[in-house]
Symmetry: C2
């Protein structure tokens, strides 16, 4: 049996070779000047991919979910109101995390597979002008849908409501403009379109988010994910010890981001767009359906329903066991009905498309 994997699920993707090599660089202590300099360079590279000048831009020591929680926990206080767009699993997760933090939730929904209407989100904010946050997932990994967040920031800039964007699957794969779009806070993950292994969550806070955090009247319930403490650790001089961050993961993310920026951010968007289309055309030819409408369909993550009469789990298992290819199963409403095929970062290539279509053709028989 193959024990390596072509990772074409919803992430992790296979890291860039440079990111894998960097894993074995000498381990550095969490307060070593060389480690802090490395994080400084990671922050610079993250600013380039987030398209922001935000000072408070750094990798949180956890997976994408920890990035979501770092943002919500640092920006919300108990009793605060948050407007959340929900059209898939990760919008639902924003609701769950915010509820646990004691927030009042205003849900704005669209059917799973359909993009959120920015007008609905803004109307909900106008109905709840005291809302502290409006949160949207830019690329809903559960259904392969792109939500339009470009239009929101300008409208919210004149209100007291901050825009929080989940860019876990979006960052490095499809256009995202933190500053130009007026995004106040944004989080992502290392293991998708950034081409590094899982374990770090890039987060960026703009001035309004930093001010909101500083104006809290209650402490952040999480010590580990308090963005204010992380700022004191990574960006104060001298650094204030917070946790034993992993230079292993940092070196790898640094290398993945370097490779991405060498190619050029816009070039990677074009690459993801091209191979995603090729995959979707190939799947359609094989009788698969598309969960998302073409206009709102992501290229880096395709949610696809199987040809009628085909059971998803055994076929997915045959791809894994027989070909060493991972594709994802459906989440939530699409569990048992759909696959999620990712072409992200190092895996966003014509070779991946040819490989997975060829293997799918085989297992369909």
């Amino acid at each position: 049996m193959l024990d390596d994997r072509l990772l074409l699920g919803p992430g992790p993707s296979n890291p860039y070779p440079e990111a894998t090599e960097a894993l074995t660089r000498p381990v550095l202590g969490h307060l070593d000047p060389a480690y802090l300099a490395l994080v400084g360079e990671i922050s610079d590279r993250l600013r380039a991919v987030f398209r922001t000048a935000n000072e408070l831009t750094l990798p949180v020591s956890g997976t994408g979910s920890s990035g979501m929680e770092a943002c919500l926990a640092s920006l919300l206080e108990p009793g605060d109101t948050i407007v959340v767009g929900v059209n898939g699993y990760f919008g639902e997760r924003l609701v769950q995390v915010a509820m646990r933090l004691g927030a009042e939730i205003v849900r704005v929904e669209a059917p799973w597979g359909t993009p959120l209407d920015p007008g609905d989100l803004l109307a909900a904010q106008r109905a709840h002008p005291h809302a502290v946050l409006l949160a949207v997932v830019a690329a809903e990994t559960s259904v392969g849908v792109r939500n339009d967040v470009a239009a929101l920031g300008t409208e919210l800039a004149s209100t007291d409501t901050l825009l929080l964007v989940d860019a876990v699957t979006a960052l490095g794969g499809t256009p995202l403009e933190v500053d130009a779009w007026g995004v106040d806070a944004c989080y992502s993950a290392s293991q998708k379109c950034l081409g590094a292994p899982p374990g770090l969550a890039p987060v960026t806070f703009g001035e309004r988010a930093v001010a909101r955090m500083r104006a809290r009247s209650t402490p952040v319930s999480s010590f580990y994910l308090d963005m204010g403490l992380l700022q004191q650790y990574y960006q104060a001089s001298p650094p204030v010890y917070h946790h034993t961050a992993s230079s292993v993961l940092a070196a790898s993310l640094h290398a993945g981001l370097g490779r991405l920026l060498d190619e050029g951010l816009e070039a990677t968007w074009v690459r993801h767009e091209r191979v995603g289309k090729a995959l979707q055309n190939g799947l359609t030819d094989l009788g698969f359906g598309m969960v998302a409408d073409e206009k709102a369909r992501l290229p880096q993550l395709t949610a696809t329903t199987l040809p009628s009469g085909k059971e998803e789990a055994p076929l997915r298992r045959r791809l894994l066991d027989g070909y060493g290819i991972e594709v994802g199963g459906g989440l939530g409403e699409f569990a048992g009905k759909a696959w999620r095929i990712g072409l992200m970062g190092h895996n966003a290539t014509d070779r991946s498309v040819a490989t997975v279509l060829g293997a799918i053709r085989d297992v369909l028989g």
Copy 2:
């Protein structure tokens, strides 16, 4: 300038060669049966080093601090009382994390550098019999002190108070017996005496802790660090998706634990004891002082005051820049006054002792 490091601070230590090699094994998806099997084996190995049969034993996706928070957040509800032993920085951190979670704190103190009196801790529990937790750091990394936790569990077993032990620096370095000592919950970190890189926090919960978690009337405020959700992810069948755990770190921890168990847990205790003594004797010969009394002094982490008239920061910097050797500075009361020298896991060797003593001799001039 040397860009590799001999890591003789309070952690990370240099990983075992097997743990470094394992970092470049093929990345696995977080729901891949091969990844879940790997975590199952890690749990088995962790049970062996924790000396427990606890079913709920797993690596949390974060550093040691995330392990501390996973335990406190999962076991405490707002308004609950916790008795905390404080004789150093990490006891203080237990207080800070518990306070943020809305707990009432009963502090039991000893001067930094002096072990906690188990009688004081038990007396505080008797005075607050409704306390949900009594928490103690087994090996206080900030001052190199061993706290006696062996005596506590038996006494607490007949009460409603659970024993939580911080074993971040203890595990794999000095004796710790989760089951025999009646420890209800315990957390550690991958990068110290376990000989793997930072990024994972082993946690174990006994039956009383699981029952306590199940009896909660409020949700755990942290989604990311909710031990109940992690149990559903790693130990339910089928696994319930929670976060994109890093197979890279898991493979490395698995290898580090394998190396440790091949040597034998008790043999590693003996090795740490021997080299720690050798270092402490050598430092004393060079005019250094010991922060902790001999009876309560840890072998794997030595807190040591510099010979009179020697400034710590420039000398520590010379060790780093000239020799590529990291030792830690003092924390809290000992900032600017002491060093913390770790001999942990792969670095607990005669070679490390000879190297660091030789380099110190050089820089003292």
